[in-house]
């Protein structure tokens, strides 16, 4: 237990300090959202209608941007080999690393959401709904993305290949995340049903992700 806590603390520290790159995600998120009004035009009514979708898309791309650092840096300096050989089960170590990555790179996105919602002319309820769905949905993005990160590190190919592998898996999260926030803002449909499915997706990926990532690390590293 202490080993896992130490791993989480170490990963968060590395991510937040100079060269860690966790906050690059927030900057990227901000840039994507600021670019949107240039693409669709500064029509406030249109922006507030598209707002949840823009925020979700930005968060998805931002979390994908930082994911390839999840194992790559540890693989380069050799600490990934130590983690694989240690007595802690590799599945738990993977889960701890993903949790640390979510705390360092995922939570700042959610904290930034109210500010960005202001830029997109979203009111209090809408911003709250988007932030809540992001809070429930981004763990799923991190934990499924971890599978792609583990595959990429064993193949010594990062970047684009990981995007190709991970993006199809994240489509359901995007669908239900946007559906839940739209339901809270305008929709005749209830907020509860898509939000529960979103939570279920996160819980399922919490179980599948560490096992798949650990399997690909075990079989792939040599």
């Amino acid at each position: 237990m202490t080993a896992l806590a130490a791993l989480i603390r170490r990963d968060i520290k590395i991510a937040l300090r100079v060269g860690g790159g966790a906050l690059i995600g927030v900057l990227f998120f901000l840039t994507v959202v600021v670019l949107m009004p240039f693409a669709v035009g500064p029509d406030l009514a249109l922006l507030s209608r598209l707002g949840p979708a823009i925020l979700w898309l930005g968060a998805l791309l931002a979390s994908l941007l930082t994911l390839d650092r999840l194992f790559m840096a540890d693989h380069e300096d050799g600490s990934l080999d130590l983690i694989t050989m240690s007595r802690t089960p590799l599945e738990l170590a993977c889960a701890a690393k993903a949790l640390a990555h979510w705390l360092a790179a995922g939570l700042p996105l959610i904290v930034a959401t109210p500010v960005l919602g202001l830029l997109l002319n979203l009111d209090m309820v809408a911003t709250g709904a988007v932030a809540l769905t992001l809070l429930a949905g981004t763990p799923a993005l991190t934990f499924t993305g971890m599978i792609g990160a583990a595959l990429a590190v064993t193949l010594h190919r990062g970047g684009l290949l990981m995007a190709v592998l991970v993006l199809p898996l994240s489509i359901p999260v995007l669908i239900f995340g946007v559906a839940a926030s739209q339901a809270a803002i305008t929709g005749p449909l209830s907020f509860g049903a898509p939000f529960s499915i979103l939570c279920a997706l996160s819980l399922v990926s919490l179980v599948i992700g560490p096992f798949a990532a650990a399997a690909s690390l075990k079989h792939g590293l040599d």
Partner: protein, 261 residues
């Protein structure tokens, strides 16, 4: 003759060479019968002649999921039993499955145009099949990205098993989300709702397409085994050439370093 006897690629090649002509003949005969029957099936009272797209669309859609199932079993073979032919089977199946999925999407959209008035609709069944197609493409990209086949095989096996979660979502999407695509009508509790004059050609076509997949799969596996043999022969040749020239330079370098020392 058990599955483990086929682990020897030479034995597999010999056996498949004997089986393959019979499979080809059976596929051609069944496809001819199925196409003939579907051409002479009666028109639907609502849909008219367009209902005949079903005889192509439905077998393709079934096969698109069946092939991923085959690949999942083969991936278990790679990761758990370390069966030497499992990764060959998984690799050979991916492009065939992608083609079936693409044909299912294509015929579906051609059928959707006159029936629903649109080529594409973001409904649950269509979206989940599109995800399946994208995952086939991702898997093929993964196979192509890595040179060492055994390393690529293990990575692809993990991804295939993760992607298998999509199969039940596709199967039950029409029951869970009540959308444009019609619910299951052939394989369901309480028997099929399809009339016999449609059901029989459909089943013949389904068997014919399955045989077509088996034939193509075995042929592709044979190609893959032969391709790997060519590759290893080329590697041996290259290493022999490199070694013979290496001995010359190495001995020269050795004498040079001795001279320095």
């Amino acid at each position: 003759m058990s599955l483990i006897d086929l682990a020897n690629p030479t034995r597999f090649l010999a056996l498949s060479a004997r089986v393959l002509p019979w499979l080809v003949a059976a596929t051609i005969i069944l496809l001819t019968i199925g196409l003939y029957q579907s051409a002479y099936a009666p028109d639907d009272y609502q849909q008219g002649a367009t209902v005949k797209i079903m005889f192509i669309h439905v077998p393709n859609a079934w096969l698109s999921m069946f092939v991923w199932g085959v690949m999942s079993v083969a991936s278990l073979g790679t990761l758990v039993w370390r069966h030497p032919l499992a990764d060959v089977a998984a690799k050979a199946a991916a492009p065939i499955g992608a083609s079936f999925t693409f044909l299912a999407l294509l015929t579906g959209s051609l059928w959707g145009r006159p029936m629903w008035g649109t080529y594409w609709e973001w409904d649950a069944r269509l979206t989940s099949v599109l995800i399946l197609f994208l995952m086939y493409l991702g898997l093929m990209a993964l196979w192509r990205a890595v040179e060492d086949p055994s390393r690529a095989a293990r990575a692809a096996a993990v991804l295939t098993l993760v992607g298998a979660l999509n199969l039940p979502i596709i199967k039950f999407s029409v029951d869970w989300w009540n959308t444009l695509h019609q619910p299951a009508s052939v394989m369901r509790m309480g028997g099929s709702t399809l009339d016999k004059s449609f059901l029989i050609p459909l089943l013949v076509m389904a068997i014919a397409f399955t045989l077509l997949f088996v034939t193509l799969h075995i042929a592709a596996m044979r190609n893959e085994i032969l391709r790997r043999r060519v590759r290893s022969l080329q590697m041996m040749q290259a290493s022999r050439v490199a070694f013979s020239s290496d001995v010359g330079t190495a001995s020269r370098q050795e004498s040079a370093s001795k001279g320095v020392a």
